[in-house]
Protein backbone atom coordinates (compact mmCIF):
# COMPACT_ATOMS: atom_id res chain seq x y z
CA UNK A 1 0.00 0.00 0.00
CA UNK A 2 2.81 2.33 0.91
CA UNK A 3 4.45 1.81 -2.43
CA UNK A 4 1.24 2.42 -4.37
CA UNK A 5 0.87 5.88 -2.84
CA UNK A 6 4.56 6.35 -3.40
CA UNK A 7 4.40 5.51 -7.09
CA UNK A 8 1.35 7.67 -7.70
CA UNK A 9 2.98 10.67 -6.03
CA UNK A 10 6.22 10.09 -7.90
CA UNK A 11 4.43 10.04 -11.24
CA UNK A 12 2.62 13.27 -10.35
CA UNK A 13 6.01 14.77 -9.55
CA UNK A 14 7.35 13.70 -12.93
CA UNK A 15 4.40 15.26 -14.74
CA UNK A 16 4.81 18.50 -12.80
CA UNK A 17 8.49 18.72 -13.53
CA UNK A 18 8.02 18.12 -17.25
CA UNK A 19 5.47 20.92 -17.24
CA UNK A 20 7.96 23.19 -15.46
CA UNK A 21 10.56 22.48 -18.10
CA UNK A 22 8.24 23.28 -20.98
CA UNK A 23 6.11 26.14 -19.74
CA UNK A 24 7.14 29.67 -20.70
CA UNK A 25 4.87 31.72 -18.50
CA UNK A 26 6.90 32.34 -15.38
CA UNK A 27 3.81 32.78 -13.25
CA UNK A 28 2.63 29.29 -14.18
CA UNK A 29 6.11 27.91 -13.59
CA UNK A 30 6.12 29.35 -10.08
CA UNK A 31 2.70 27.88 -9.36
CA UNK A 32 3.91 24.52 -10.67
CA UNK A 33 6.93 24.80 -8.42
CA UNK A 34 4.56 25.28 -5.50
CA UNK A 35 2.66 22.16 -6.58
CA UNK A 36 5.97 20.33 -6.91
CA UNK A 37 6.88 21.26 -3.37
CA UNK A 38 3.50 20.25 -2.02
CA UNK A 39 3.67 16.90 -3.80
CA UNK A 40 7.14 16.25 -2.47
CA UNK A 41 5.92 17.20 0.99
CA UNK A 42 3.22 14.54 0.65
CA UNK A 43 5.86 12.09 -0.48
CA UNK A 44 7.93 12.97 2.56
CA UNK A 45 4.94 12.07 4.74
CA UNK A 46 4.64 8.66 3.12
CA UNK A 47 8.35 8.21 3.72
CA UNK A 48 7.86 9.01 7.43
CA UNK A 49 9.64 12.35 7.34
CA UNK A 50 6.84 14.37 8.90
CA UNK A 51 9.03 17.22 10.10
CA UNK A 52 10.58 17.60 6.69
CA UNK A 53 7.16 17.50 5.05
CA UNK A 54 5.95 20.23 7.36
CA UNK A 55 8.94 22.42 6.58
CA UNK A 56 8.79 21.75 2.86
CA UNK A 57 5.10 22.64 2.80
CA UNK A 58 5.69 25.83 4.76
CA UNK A 59 8.82 26.89 2.93
CA UNK A 60 8.62 25.43 -0.56
CA UNK A 61 4.94 26.04 -1.07
CA UNK A 62 4.59 29.09 1.09
CA UNK A 63 7.62 31.31 1.46
CA UNK A 64 9.40 30.35 -1.76
CA UNK A 65 6.30 30.99 -3.82
CA UNK A 66 5.69 34.33 -2.13
CA UNK A 67 9.27 35.43 -2.71
CA UNK A 68 9.27 34.26 -6.33
CA UNK A 69 5.98 35.99 -7.00
CA UNK A 70 7.05 39.23 -5.40
CA UNK A 71 10.24 39.18 -7.45
CA UNK A 72 8.19 38.41 -10.53
CA UNK A 73 5.99 41.39 -9.83
CA UNK A 74 9.12 43.55 -10.04
CA UNK A 75 10.38 42.02 -13.30
CA UNK A 76 9.02 40.40 -16.42
CA UNK A 77 6.44 37.68 -16.48
CA UNK A 78 7.35 35.83 -19.62
CA UNK A 79 10.40 33.84 -20.50
CA UNK A 80 11.74 34.26 -23.99
CA UNK A 81 12.62 31.40 -26.26
CA UNK A 82 16.19 30.33 -25.52
CA UNK A 83 18.36 31.50 -28.38
CA UNK A 84 20.84 28.65 -28.44
CA UNK A 85 20.33 24.97 -28.98
CA UNK A 86 20.06 23.16 -25.67
CA UNK A 87 21.84 20.01 -26.87
CA UNK A 88 25.00 20.59 -24.84
CA UNK A 89 22.91 21.11 -21.74
CA UNK A 90 21.00 17.94 -22.56
CA UNK A 91 24.25 16.03 -22.96
CA UNK A 92 25.59 17.27 -19.62
CA UNK A 93 22.37 16.35 -17.90
CA UNK A 94 22.17 12.88 -19.44
CA UNK A 95 25.77 12.12 -18.53
CA UNK A 96 25.30 13.34 -14.95
CA UNK A 97 22.10 11.35 -14.61
CA UNK A 98 23.75 8.24 -16.01
CA UNK A 99 26.60 8.55 -13.52
CA UNK A 100 24.11 8.91 -10.68
CA UNK A 101 22.10 5.90 -11.78
CA UNK A 102 25.34 3.95 -12.06
CA UNK A 103 26.06 5.06 -8.51
CA UNK A 104 22.75 3.80 -7.16
CA UNK A 105 23.53 0.29 -8.40
CA UNK A 106 25.40 -0.55 -5.23
CA UNK A 107 23.00 1.24 -2.93
CA UNK A 108 20.85 -0.87 -0.63
CA UNK A 109 17.32 -1.48 -1.85
CA UNK A 110 14.76 1.27 -1.11
CA UNK A 111 13.16 0.66 2.29
CA UNK A 112 15.62 -2.06 3.30
CA UNK A 113 15.90 -2.14 7.11
CA UNK A 114 19.35 -3.75 6.95
CA UNK A 115 21.15 -1.07 5.01
CA UNK A 116 24.20 0.43 6.73
CA UNK A 117 22.61 3.76 7.49
CA UNK A 118 20.12 2.13 9.81
CA UNK A 119 22.69 0.11 11.68
CA UNK A 120 25.32 2.60 12.74
CA UNK A 121 24.72 6.05 14.20
CA UNK A 122 20.95 6.05 13.97
CA UNK A 123 20.66 3.07 16.33
CA UNK A 124 21.84 5.10 19.29
CA UNK A 125 19.56 8.00 18.46
CA UNK A 126 16.50 5.78 18.34
CA UNK A 127 17.38 3.67 21.36
CA UNK A 128 18.90 6.20 23.73
CA UNK A 129 17.64 9.65 22.85
CA UNK A 130 14.63 9.43 25.21
CA UNK A 131 16.99 8.85 28.14
CA UNK A 132 19.81 11.08 26.97
CA UNK A 133 17.96 14.03 25.54
CA UNK A 134 14.29 13.66 26.32
CA UNK A 135 11.91 14.77 23.59
CA UNK A 136 9.70 12.02 22.17
CA UNK A 137 10.31 13.42 18.70
CA UNK A 138 13.71 11.96 17.81
CA UNK A 139 14.12 14.44 14.98
CA UNK A 140 13.96 17.26 17.53
CA UNK A 141 16.53 15.53 19.73
CA UNK A 142 18.96 15.06 16.89
CA UNK A 143 18.31 18.49 15.43
CA UNK A 144 18.61 20.43 18.64
CA UNK A 145 21.06 18.41 20.68
CA UNK A 146 23.16 15.79 18.90
CA UNK A 147 23.56 17.92 15.81
CA UNK A 148 22.63 21.21 17.41
CA UNK A 149 25.58 22.93 15.84
CA UNK A 150 24.27 22.31 12.34
CA UNK A 151 21.09 24.00 13.41
CA UNK A 152 23.05 27.01 14.60
CA UNK A 153 24.59 27.07 11.13
CA UNK A 154 21.13 26.89 9.63
CA UNK A 155 19.95 29.79 11.77
CA UNK A 156 22.88 31.88 10.64
CA UNK A 157 22.22 30.90 7.01
CA UNK A 158 18.73 32.34 7.27
CA UNK A 159 20.08 35.39 9.06
CA UNK A 160 22.65 35.84 6.30
CA UNK A 161 20.00 35.63 3.62
CA UNK A 162 18.01 38.31 5.42
CA UNK A 163 20.85 40.76 5.79
CA UNK A 164 21.99 40.00 2.26
CA UNK A 165 18.56 41.04 1.02
CA UNK A 166 18.59 44.22 3.06
CA UNK A 167 22.13 44.96 1.92
CA UNK A 168 21.24 44.40 -1.73
CA UNK A 169 17.74 45.85 -1.86
CA UNK A 170 17.33 47.93 1.28
CA UNK A 171 14.09 49.36 2.60
CA UNK A 172 14.59 52.73 1.05
CA UNK A 173 12.66 52.86 -2.20
CA UNK A 174 9.31 53.03 -0.55
CA UNK A 175 10.05 56.23 1.27
CA UNK A 176 10.53 57.98 -2.03
CA UNK A 177 7.37 56.33 -3.22
CA UNK A 178 5.51 57.28 -0.07
CA UNK A 179 6.00 61.00 -0.49
CA UNK A 180 4.27 60.91 -3.81
CA UNK A 181 1.52 58.72 -2.55
CA UNK A 182 0.64 60.64 0.55
CA UNK A 183 0.08 63.99 -1.14
CA UNK A 184 -3.42 63.27 -2.42
CA UNK A 185 -4.15 61.71 0.94
CA UNK A 186 -4.13 65.06 2.70
CA UNK A 187 -7.51 65.93 1.27
CA UNK A 188 -8.96 62.92 2.97
CA UNK A 189 -7.57 63.51 6.41
CA UNK A 190 -10.99 63.16 7.92
CA UNK A 191 -11.10 59.55 6.82
CA UNK A 192 -7.53 58.92 7.65
CA UNK A 193 -7.97 60.27 11.14
CA UNK A 194 -10.93 58.10 11.93
CA UNK A 195 -9.33 54.89 10.93
CA UNK A 196 -6.09 54.14 9.19
CA UNK A 197 -7.67 51.25 7.39
CA UNK A 198 -10.12 53.45 5.56
CA UNK A 199 -7.27 55.70 4.61
CA UNK A 200 -5.40 52.75 3.28
CA UNK A 201 -8.30 51.80 1.15
CA UNK A 202 -7.78 54.87 -0.95
CA UNK A 203 -4.17 53.98 -1.30
CA UNK A 204 -5.06 50.49 -2.36
CA UNK A 205 -7.48 51.80 -4.89
CA UNK A 206 -4.71 53.75 -6.52
CA UNK A 207 -2.46 50.75 -6.79
CA UNK A 208 -4.72 47.78 -7.11
CA UNK A 209 -8.15 48.08 -8.59
CA UNK A 210 -10.42 45.94 -6.50
CA UNK A 211 -8.28 45.75 -3.45
CA UNK A 212 -11.15 46.77 -1.24
CA UNK A 213 -12.08 43.23 -0.44
CA UNK A 214 -14.37 43.49 2.54
CA UNK A 215 -14.76 39.73 2.87
CA UNK A 216 -11.04 39.17 2.63
CA UNK A 217 -10.38 41.71 5.34
CA UNK A 218 -12.93 40.30 7.73
CA UNK A 219 -11.78 36.73 7.22
CA UNK A 220 -8.20 37.85 7.49
CA UNK A 221 -8.86 39.60 10.77
CA UNK A 222 -10.53 36.47 12.04
CA UNK A 223 -7.77 34.15 10.99
CA UNK A 224 -4.56 36.04 11.59
CA UNK A 225 -4.74 35.60 15.38
CA UNK A 226 -5.50 31.93 14.87
CA UNK A 227 -2.50 31.56 12.57
CA UNK A 228 -0.28 33.20 15.15
CA UNK A 229 -1.72 30.96 17.85
CA UNK A 230 -1.08 27.91 15.71
CA UNK A 231 2.49 29.07 15.20
CA UNK A 232 2.96 29.20 18.96
CA UNK A 233 1.51 25.69 19.25
CA UNK A 234 3.95 24.44 16.62
CA UNK A 235 6.78 26.21 18.42
CA UNK A 236 6.14 24.71 21.82
CA UNK A 237 4.77 21.36 20.72
CA UNK A 238 7.79 20.55 18.56
CA UNK A 239 9.17 18.21 21.19
CA UNK A 240 6.15 15.94 21.00
CA UNK A 241 5.17 16.01 17.36
CA UNK A 242 6.28 17.41 14.06
CA UNK A 243 7.19 21.05 14.30
CA UNK A 244 9.68 23.27 16.01
CA UNK A 245 11.22 26.67 15.85
CA UNK A 246 11.76 26.83 12.14
CA UNK A 247 8.25 25.84 11.11
CA UNK A 248 6.76 28.04 13.79
CA UNK A 249 8.77 31.02 12.64
CA UNK A 250 7.62 30.53 9.07
CA UNK A 251 3.98 30.23 10.10
CA UNK A 252 4.16 33.26 12.35
CA UNK A 253 5.74 35.20 9.51
CA UNK A 254 3.06 34.02 7.11
CA UNK A 255 0.46 35.49 9.44
CA UNK A 256 2.17 38.86 9.25
CA UNK A 257 2.65 38.55 5.49
CA UNK A 258 -1.06 37.80 5.14
CA UNK A 259 -1.75 40.97 7.08
CA UNK A 260 0.53 42.93 4.80
CA UNK A 261 -1.13 41.47 1.72
CA UNK A 262 -4.70 42.10 2.81
CA UNK A 263 -4.15 45.52 4.29
CA UNK A 264 -1.05 47.23 3.08
CA UNK A 265 2.67 46.74 3.38
CA UNK A 266 2.86 50.30 4.72
CA UNK A 267 0.43 49.49 7.49
CA UNK A 268 2.20 46.28 8.32
CA UNK A 269 5.49 48.13 8.43
CA UNK A 270 4.04 50.57 10.90
CA UNK A 271 2.94 47.73 13.15
CA UNK A 272 6.08 45.63 12.81
CA UNK A 273 8.89 47.93 11.88
CA UNK A 274 11.96 46.86 9.93
CA UNK A 275 14.13 48.12 12.75
CA UNK A 276 12.33 45.96 15.27
CA UNK A 277 12.62 42.99 12.97
CA UNK A 278 16.32 43.55 12.57
CA UNK A 279 16.76 43.52 16.32
CA UNK A 280 14.57 40.43 16.62
CA UNK A 281 16.65 38.60 14.04
CA UNK A 282 19.81 39.51 15.92
CA UNK A 283 18.18 38.47 19.18
CA UNK A 284 17.27 35.10 17.72
CA UNK A 285 20.85 34.32 16.78
CA UNK A 286 22.08 35.62 20.11
CA UNK A 287 19.67 33.44 22.08
CA UNK A 288 21.01 30.40 20.25
CA UNK A 289 24.66 31.36 20.49
CA UNK A 290 24.15 32.63 24.02
CA UNK A 291 22.87 29.26 25.21
CA UNK A 292 26.02 27.73 23.75
CA UNK A 293 28.24 30.26 25.48
CA UNK A 294 26.45 29.84 28.81
CA UNK A 295 27.06 26.09 28.52
CA UNK A 296 30.72 26.88 28.06
CA UNK A 297 30.82 29.15 31.09
CA UNK A 298 29.12 26.50 33.18
CA UNK A 299 31.91 24.11 32.40
CA UNK A 300 30.54 22.07 29.53
CA UNK A 301 31.34 22.11 25.86
CA UNK A 302 29.67 24.52 23.48
CA UNK A 303 25.93 23.64 23.30
CA UNK A 304 26.31 20.93 25.96
CA UNK A 305 22.92 21.46 27.61
CA UNK A 306 23.55 18.90 30.35
CA UNK A 307 25.25 21.54 32.47
CA UNK A 308 22.36 23.99 32.32
CA UNK A 309 20.57 22.34 35.19
CA UNK A 310 21.42 20.02 38.05
CA UNK A 311 19.68 17.17 36.29
CA UNK A 312 21.04 16.51 32.77
CA UNK A 313 17.60 15.79 31.27
CA UNK A 314 16.22 19.04 32.65
CA UNK A 315 19.23 20.81 31.26
CA UNK A 316 18.62 19.28 27.84
CA UNK A 317 14.98 20.27 28.03
CA UNK A 318 15.79 23.86 28.93
CA UNK A 319 18.48 24.10 26.29
CA UNK A 320 16.28 22.74 23.52
CA UNK A 321 13.42 25.02 24.56
CA UNK A 322 15.67 28.08 24.41
CA UNK A 323 17.37 27.32 21.14
CA UNK A 324 14.07 26.48 19.44
CA UNK A 325 12.84 29.84 20.68
CA UNK A 326 15.90 31.51 19.18
CA UNK A 327 15.38 29.76 15.87
CA UNK A 328 11.69 30.68 15.86
CA UNK A 329 12.31 34.37 16.55
CA UNK A 330 15.11 34.60 14.02
CA UNK A 331 13.22 32.81 11.25
CA UNK A 332 10.09 34.87 11.85
CA UNK A 333 11.98 38.14 11.70
CA UNK A 334 14.00 37.23 8.64
CA UNK A 335 11.04 35.88 6.67
CA UNK A 336 9.11 39.10 7.22
CA UNK A 337 12.20 41.16 6.38
CA UNK A 338 12.56 39.22 3.14
CA UNK A 339 8.97 39.89 2.23
CA UNK A 340 9.28 43.60 3.08
CA UNK A 341 12.38 44.10 1.00
CA UNK A 342 10.65 42.75 -2.08
CA UNK A 343 7.21 44.19 -1.44
CA UNK A 344 8.70 47.59 -0.71
CA UNK A 345 10.40 48.00 -3.99
CA UNK A 346 8.96 49.91 -6.85
CA UNK A 347 8.77 48.24 -10.21
CA UNK A 348 11.07 49.55 -12.88
CA UNK A 349 14.59 50.80 -13.02
CA UNK A 350 16.58 53.08 -10.75
Amino acid sequence: MESVVDIVLLSFLCITVVAIVYIRKLFCAIMLLGIFSLLSASLFVTMDAVDVAFTEAAVGTGISSILLLSALALTHTREQRPPHQPYIALLVVVVTGAVLIYGTMDLPRFGDPNSPIHRHVAVRYIADSPHEVGPPNIVTSVLASYRGYDTLGETVVIFTAGIALVGLLGFRRRQEFKVRLYQPMDKKTSYAENSTEDGDEFEDNIKLPGANHMVLRIVGKMFIPLILLFALYVQFHGDYGPGGGFQAGVIFASGIILYALIFDVETAMRVITPKGLRLLAVAGVFIYGGVGLVCMFLGGNFLDYNVLSAHPLHGQHLGIFLIELGVGINVFAIMVIMFYTFANRKRGSV
Binding site: P209, G210, H213, V215, L216, V219, M222, F223, L226
Partner: protein, 110 residues
Amino acid sequence: MDLNIFGNILDILTALFLTAGCFLGISGGIGLYRLPDFFTRQHASGITDSACSFAILFALMLQSGFTMVTIKLFFILIFLIITSTTATHALAKTALFKGQKPLLGREDNH
Protein backbone atom coordinates in the same frame (compact mmCIF):
# COMPACT_ATOMS: atom_id res chain seq x y z
CA MET B 1 -22.10 -7.51 18.25
CA ASP B 2 -23.91 -4.19 18.41
CA LEU B 3 -20.62 -2.44 18.37
CA ASN B 4 -19.59 -4.37 15.34
CA ILE B 5 -22.73 -3.36 13.46
CA PHE B 6 -22.10 0.22 14.44
CA GLY B 7 -18.58 -0.16 13.17
CA ASN B 8 -19.85 -1.59 9.91
CA ILE B 9 -22.25 1.28 9.45
CA LEU B 10 -19.40 3.68 10.07
CA ASP B 11 -17.29 1.89 7.49
CA ILE B 12 -20.06 2.04 4.91
CA LEU B 13 -20.64 5.71 5.61
CA THR B 14 -16.93 6.33 5.32
CA ALA B 15 -16.80 4.56 2.00
CA LEU B 16 -19.76 6.57 0.75
CA PHE B 17 -18.23 9.87 1.74
CA LEU B 18 -14.85 8.96 0.36
CA THR B 19 -16.39 7.95 -2.95
CA ALA B 20 -18.36 11.14 -3.08
CA GLY B 21 -15.22 13.13 -2.25
CA CYS B 22 -13.23 11.41 -4.94
CA PHE B 23 -15.97 11.93 -7.49
CA LEU B 24 -16.21 15.62 -6.62
CA GLY B 25 -12.47 16.00 -6.73
CA ILE B 26 -12.13 14.37 -10.13
CA SER B 27 -15.07 16.25 -11.57
CA GLY B 28 -13.56 19.47 -10.23
CA GLY B 29 -10.34 18.63 -12.01
CA ILE B 30 -12.09 17.84 -15.27
CA GLY B 31 -14.11 21.01 -14.96
CA LEU B 32 -10.98 23.05 -14.41
CA TYR B 33 -9.60 21.65 -17.61
CA ARG B 34 -12.67 21.66 -19.82
CA LEU B 35 -14.83 24.61 -18.82
CA PRO B 36 -14.68 27.64 -21.11
CA ASP B 37 -13.97 30.74 -19.03
CA PHE B 38 -12.41 31.91 -15.79
CA PHE B 39 -15.57 32.02 -13.70
CA THR B 40 -16.85 28.59 -14.61
CA ARG B 41 -13.42 27.15 -13.95
CA GLN B 42 -13.47 28.95 -10.67
CA HIS B 43 -16.72 27.17 -9.96
CA ALA B 44 -15.11 23.80 -10.67
CA SER B 45 -12.11 24.44 -8.48
CA GLY B 46 -14.41 25.80 -5.79
CA ILE B 47 -16.13 22.41 -5.72
CA THR B 48 -12.81 20.67 -5.18
CA ASP B 49 -11.83 23.14 -2.51
CA SER B 50 -14.96 22.93 -0.45
CA ALA B 51 -17.28 20.00 -1.11
CA CYS B 52 -14.61 17.47 -1.98
CA SER B 53 -12.37 18.21 0.95
CA PHE B 54 -15.40 18.40 3.21
CA ALA B 55 -16.51 14.90 2.22
CA ILE B 56 -13.06 13.40 2.55
CA LEU B 57 -12.33 15.02 5.90
CA PHE B 58 -15.71 13.94 7.21
CA ALA B 59 -14.99 10.37 6.15
CA LEU B 60 -11.67 10.49 7.94
CA MET B 61 -13.34 11.85 11.05
CA LEU B 62 -15.73 8.92 11.03
CA GLN B 63 -12.77 6.57 11.02
CA SER B 64 -10.71 8.19 13.72
CA GLY B 65 -13.28 7.94 16.53
CA PHE B 66 -13.34 10.18 19.58
CA THR B 67 -9.66 11.15 19.68
CA MET B 68 -7.47 14.19 19.32
CA VAL B 69 -7.22 13.38 15.63
CA THR B 70 -10.92 14.00 15.10
CA ILE B 71 -10.70 17.34 16.81
CA LYS B 72 -7.75 18.33 14.67
CA LEU B 73 -9.56 17.19 11.54
CA PHE B 74 -12.56 19.23 12.63
CA PHE B 75 -10.45 22.34 12.95
CA ILE B 76 -8.92 21.70 9.55
CA LEU B 77 -12.41 21.38 8.16
CA ILE B 78 -13.53 24.69 9.63
CA PHE B 79 -10.36 26.34 8.39
CA LEU B 80 -10.78 24.98 4.89
CA ILE B 81 -14.44 25.88 4.64
CA ILE B 82 -13.78 29.50 5.50
CA THR B 83 -10.49 30.05 3.70
CA SER B 84 -11.25 28.26 0.46
CA THR B 85 -14.53 30.06 -0.01
CA THR B 86 -12.85 33.36 0.80
CA ALA B 87 -10.08 32.63 -1.65
CA THR B 88 -12.55 31.78 -4.39
CA HIS B 89 -14.46 34.96 -3.68
CA ALA B 90 -11.33 37.10 -3.69
CA LEU B 91 -10.11 35.59 -6.94
CA ALA B 92 -13.44 36.07 -8.68
CA LYS B 93 -13.75 39.63 -7.46
CA THR B 94 -10.26 40.54 -8.55
CA ALA B 95 -10.87 38.95 -11.93
CA LEU B 96 -14.01 41.03 -12.34
CA PHE B 97 -12.14 44.20 -11.45
CA LYS B 98 -9.35 43.36 -13.81
CA GLY B 99 -11.85 43.20 -16.65
CA GLN B 100 -12.62 39.50 -16.99
CA LYS B 101 -16.18 39.21 -18.26
CA PRO B 102 -18.19 36.11 -17.48
CA LEU B 103 -19.18 34.16 -20.56
CA LEU B 104 -22.95 34.45 -20.76
CA GLY B 105 -24.50 31.84 -22.99
CA ARG B 106 -22.91 29.94 -25.80
CA GLU B 107 -20.43 31.73 -27.99
CA ASP B 108 -21.73 31.89 -31.51
CA ASN B 109 -18.57 31.03 -33.33
CA HIS B 110 -18.33 27.65 -31.60
